[in-house]
């Protein structure tokens, strides 16, 4: 019996050892700067890690790198630099980067935030990965104590590339499963994760990694080269501008793809969905092994409507439909600006609510994209188009002789 017991104990011990070595699953977000007063959207979620873009990886970019005034809440932070150069960064930038990193970390510390490492987001050509590895080793020498992370293009993981050298030089890497293929080949952003292909590829590198997945959408021209993307496009404003929905379908990743036409234009909108994100998360979990979690691109700012919020990703619960009534500061009449928080901002059907006023409404000026229909002297039925996108929809301005109270009388989400 003793040998058997010993074997059992050994096996159990091994199992425990394996369990204790398996990394903890973490959720991370990128936070990207795009406007001077960008404010991250509020959320009850507190991810394990946020990669905060602080600058670009060039001499002037490093000099101008700053810790943003506002960042999403998180348990840990990493400063990220982005490079668009069609080349690996020169090793001469390594000390400049180190200095910039120290500067940014001090700025963050003054805001009460400890920066635990840095990440480099470099779209290095695959054939020059060896040079990139050289650069990364130089950075490592300059900043030995900080966690060094890199993003990775899927193209790097082909045969006979130097990706192993690159990965060896860092503490973690984040392969990005989005925007992998040219847009004219496929309408979509998120790339399905083929477990049979990627699990052995990543495990062979023997380094912890996270998987970058898309939680963002995009509106772009439906045809032509290049497919111009409109960063500031809001679906609701497009509906108000005379665009009509021609087609709505799901792609292989579970994203919703809309075709919009109107005013001589044809646009394509790719929208993230709980399904597309959910599928990606499930696949990442199935990777197991050295995979330590998922990183979402990205945490939205308050003025961005095509990105799922952390709350939307974390939970099936939708916001409660609410009406905000704000004084429009008119005279001599009273006027109220009405805004509706949408329960499902990517609903496939229009959202219809009835607004009830405490007094007669004289007239309304409807907001673009929204349809109003009077149902009584003090009631208006409001229809917000399907796929509104925005979390809040401006309904318009209502005028009355004296100030009214407004409430939602009933809704049909």
């Amino acid at each position: 019996m003793r040998p058997a017991a010993a074997v059992i104990a050994l096996l159990l011990g091994s199992a425990c050892a394996v369990r204790s070595e398996r990394p903890r699953w973490e959720t991370a977000y990128w936070y990207w700067q795009h406007a001077p007063r960008a404010v991250p959207v509020e959320s009850s979620e507190r991810p394990d890690l946020v990669y905060v873009q602080v600058g670009t990886l060039s001499a002037p970019g490093l000099a101008a790198s700053r810790w943003p005034a506002r960042v999403p809440p998180a348990r840990a932070y990493v400063a990220t630099w982005r490079s668009d150069e069609a080349a690996p960064p020169s090793s001469t930038l390594a000390p400049v980067l180190a200095e910039s990193y120290q500067h940014v970390a001090r700025e963050a510390a003054r805001a009460g935030i400890e920066v635990s490492g840095l990440q480099l987001d470099v779209d290095c050509p695959t054939r020059r990965l060896d040079e990139y590895a050289t650069f990364l080793r130089a950075v490592r020498r300059e900043i030995p104590a900080a966690t060094l992370s890199i993003t990775a293009l899927l193209d790097w993981f082909g045969r006979r590339t130097s990706v192993a050298d690159v990965v060896a030089a860092v503490d973690e890497y984040v392969p990005q499963f989005y925007d992998v293929r040219p847009p004219d080949q496929r309408a979509g952003i998120a790339e399905p994760i083929d477990l049979l292909r990627w699990r052995p590829t990543f495990e062979s590198l023997g380094k912890k990694y996270r998987v970058g997945i898309a939680s963002f959408g995009r509106v772009q021209r439906a045809a032509g080269t290049p497919r111009v993307a409109y960063r500031d496009a809001s679906l609701l404003s497009l509906w108000g501008d005379g665009m009509s929905l021609r087609k709505a379908e799901s792609n292989e990743s579970g994203e919703t793809v809309l075709r919009l036409e109107g005013r001589g234009r044809a646009l394509e909108a790719v929208l993230p969905t709980p399904e597309s994100v959910g599928r990606a998360i499930h696949s990442v979990r199935e990777l197991g092994g050295s995979c330590v979690g998922v990183a979402f691109f990205r945490w939205p700012s308050q003025d961005e409507s095509l990105i799922l919020t952390p709350d939307e990703i974390a939970s099936d619960r939708r916001p409660i439909q609410q009406l905000a009534v704000q004084d429009g500061f008119c005279a001599p009449r009273a006027c109220a600006d009405l805004r509706l928080t949408l329960g499902d901002r990517f609903a496939k059907e229009p959202t219809v609510v009835t607004l009830v006023a405490s007094g007669d409404i004289e007239y309304v000026v409807a907001a673009a994209g929204v349809r109003l229909r009077q149902t009584s002297a003090r009631e208006v039925e409001v229809t917000v188009p399907a796929f509104a996108g925005s979390r809040e929809a401006s309904l318009g301005r209502a005028f009355s002789r004296s100030a009214n109270d407004y409430r939602i009388g009933g809704f049909n989400p």
Binding site: P60, A86, P226, F329, P332, D337, V364, V365, E379
Partner: protein, 650 residues
């Protein structure tokens, strides 16, 4: 009962379908609160964007021809431009050049071309190219990932300050209008990237005024839109307002922002409201801006719209320019202002002007006609109201072509709910107007060319025909069957004429019958009515199964519109009740038969009359008629009466 149930289901379903798929009809449009509003014009329409951009001359570095050194310089500039717009993607197979190399090559090529004794124009193009290379290099260095957009926050000042200086120097010395105009555009872009939006706006607005600008209007307006994006930065205008009130087009730009505010938080919303008021106050101080031609007219319209948007209807009316006074859009807004203030007499001429003007887009004319229906109702002019309804219906069924008039797009950019048959017309003919008004309308129609309409069932018909038919129906309802017969014969409705004559005979028989037979003659008259439902007292050519949808009481739009007073509302509801009673042959028959039952008592004849009366009550469509309670009680009473022992015993 089954037929009744089926009809009921059909009607309810029809109403639901109408509401869901609609609109199948337009009804009381002018009484709805979303009807009276200024047209929702886009920013670009306010500023007078032309329908299509015209292609301008090629920008510096993008053309063809000239010395080979110039061509070479253009090519290298295009490489810089290409790098910025379309540089490395993960799937690119070819190695992309380094930015520094690309820029250096462009500078060398430009210097070489300048040294090769170019012509004056070529030299200007090359000098402009120098600035463009500096600008593109700056943008390329700091372009954002995945969006390829340079914004002020990402722009390092040094690169763009250099570019700004180069362009400023170029513009001050340029001799070519085309290149100077282009240079100003790039200078404005530098101001934008350096966070100097007002300097940029000044240049763009001046280029908008410049008829020979090389920058097309759409580009300029897009650029202007970028200066004050949706984050409420337009509030910064408050500190620079006076700068913009030097020309009508500059002032118009500010007002267009004020009347189309999009803000993201409460602070920005409040500040935009304050900017709006300041802008309107500034307009008051600069009334001279309203006397400077076409731009002044647009400014006047924008100012009116701004006042309407702030609820100050009287102030909107005070805006008056000689040029804009007669514009249909101006008149529409005056009509709105007067209507909403309850000054209907003053609203009328403006709405008529829009309805009558060929310069008005079709939708504007439609709205004016629909608005006038309410104006005439409020002014107590039923004949004008009915004539306008005929005019509208005639226009709807045979509209002028188009959503464009004279190249101008429709003013109405919201959902268009008014492309449907006018249910007000049968309502006026059958319910709302009294007999005197119909007679007066008949006289008015006789004095003008026929108004021709296309009816779903009748095909082509005229307004006069519909009025006569309505008068004939009303005569029948009053029991004046001979008059009804005469009208039906005159307008060629032989079936109804024949039935009216039958009724004449039956009614005469009642009058002439000996006393003991009178009840039997009345029974025959009542039975004839009951057996001819919707063929005598009901106006069968007007409603197309939609009468119930039109009712203020009991219909799907059963509410008092704010524009109608309680008295007006109760008057219309009373008319609806009267019409429901008068048009229901079975109800009228029941009333006669009930009287017969009272008089005949428990005789076999009386019982026969009671059975017939019960049959009438059972077959009344209460969805349209209502009076469910009375019908039920009457039926129960008669049934109970029948259950009593017959008179004379058995």
């Amino acid at each position: 009962m089954r037929k009744l149930a089926a009809a009921l289901i059909f009607l309810v379903a029809g109403a639901k379908i109408a509401e869901a798929c609609g609109p199948f009809f337009v009804l009381r449009a002018g009484l709805e609160l979303q009807f009276w509003q200024p047209y929702a014009k886009t920013h670009w329409q306010l500023l007078g964007l032309p329908g299509k951009s015209k292609p301008g001359p090629a920008f510096a570095g993008m053309g063809n021809g000239g010395k080979k050194e110039l061509e070479a310089a253009r090519k290298t500039y295009q490489e810089v431009e290409r790098w910025r717009a379309q540089h490395f993607e993960a799937w690119d197979q070819q190695p992309a050049p380094l930015l520094a190399d690309t820029v250096a090559a462009a500078r060398r090529a430009i210097d070489a071309a300048l040294a090769a004794r170019p012509s004056e124009v070529e030299a200007e193009e090359l000098r402009l190219l120098k600035g463009k290379v500096t600008l593109r290099e700056g943008e390329s260095l700091l372009v954002m990932s995945r969006t390829k957009v340079a914004t002020p926050v990402r722009a390092g000042p040094e690169a763009f300050q250099r570019a700004r200086e180069e362009f400023a120097a170029f513009v001050s010395g340029a001799k070519s209008d085309v290149f100077r105009s282009e240079g100003r555009g790039w200078l404005a872009r530098c101001h934008y990237l350096l966070g100097e939006p007002h300097k940029a706006a000044a240049i763009y607005l001046d280029e908008l005024d410049n008829r020979s600008s090389t920058l097309d209007r759409r580009t300029l307006l897009q650029s202007l839109a970028l200066l004050f994006p949706y984050n409420g930065s337009a509030a910064g205008l408050a500190d620079h307002l006076e700068d913009y009130f030097d020309t009508p087009s500059h002032a118009l730009y500010v007002l267009s922002l004020v009347t189309n505010p999009v803000v993201r938080d409460e602070n920005e919303r409040r500040s935009m409201a304050a900017v709006g008021q300041k802008a309107l106050d500034a307009i008051e101080r600069h009334k001279e801006l309203f006397a400077k031609g076409e731009d002044s007219d647009r400014l006047a319209l924008a100012t009116m719209r701004a006042h309407l948007y702030r609820g100050d209807l009287r102030a909107a009316l005070r805006i008056d320019t000689a040029g804009s006074r007669s514009l249909p859009e101006t008149r529409w807004m005056r009509g709105i202002a007067y209507f909403l203030m309850g000054e209907y007499q003053e609203a009328e001429p403006h709405l008529l002007a829009v309805a009558d003007s060929k310069e008005s887009p079709e939708r504007a004319r439609t709205l004016s006609r629909l608005g006038l229906l309410v104006v005439y109702q409020k002014l107590g002019r039923p004949v004008d109201q009915l004539l306008m309804a005929f005019r509208h219906q005639s226009g709807f069924l045979d509209p002028d072509d188009s959503s464009e008039v004279n190249g101008e797009v429709e003013w109405f950019n919201a959902e268009w709910d008014y492309d449907a048959s006018l249910l007000d017309l049968p309502y006026l003919l059958d319910i709302q107007l009294d007999d005197a008004a119909l007679e007066a309308t008949k006289q008015a129609l006789a004095r003008r060319p026929p108004i021709v309409l296309n009816d779903w069932d009748l095909g082509k018909t005229t307004a006069a025909y519909l009025v006569d038919y309505a008068l004939a129906v009303r005569a029948s309802r009053r029991g004046e069957y001979a008059q009804a017969a005469a009208i039906y014969e005159a307008i060629g409705v032989p079936a109804r004429a024949a039935r009216s004559k039958t009724l004449v005979r039956l009614a005469a028989a009642v009058e002439s019958a000996p006393r003991q037979e009178r009840l039997h003659r009345r029974f025959e008259l009542a039975s004839y009515l009951a057996d001819n439902t919707e063929r005598i007292l009901f106006n069968d050519i007007l409603w197309h199964r939609m009468q119930t949808l039109s009712f203020l009481r009991g219909g799907p739009r059963s509410y008092r519109p704010a524009v109608l007073s309680e008295t007006e509302m109760s008057g219309l509801v009373e008319n609806e009740r009267k019409t429901r009673d008068a048009q229901e042959e079975r109800w009228q028959a029941f009333l006669m038969l009930d009287g017969i039952v009272q008089e005949a008592g428990g005789t076999p004849f009386g019982r026969r009359a009671a059975l017939k009366a019960i049959e009438c009550l059972d077959r009344i469509n209460t969805d349209r008629f209502e009076r469910e309670k009375e019908i039920k009680e009457a039926s129960a009473r008669l049934v109970a009466w029948l259950a009593m022992p017959a008179k004379g015993g058995r």
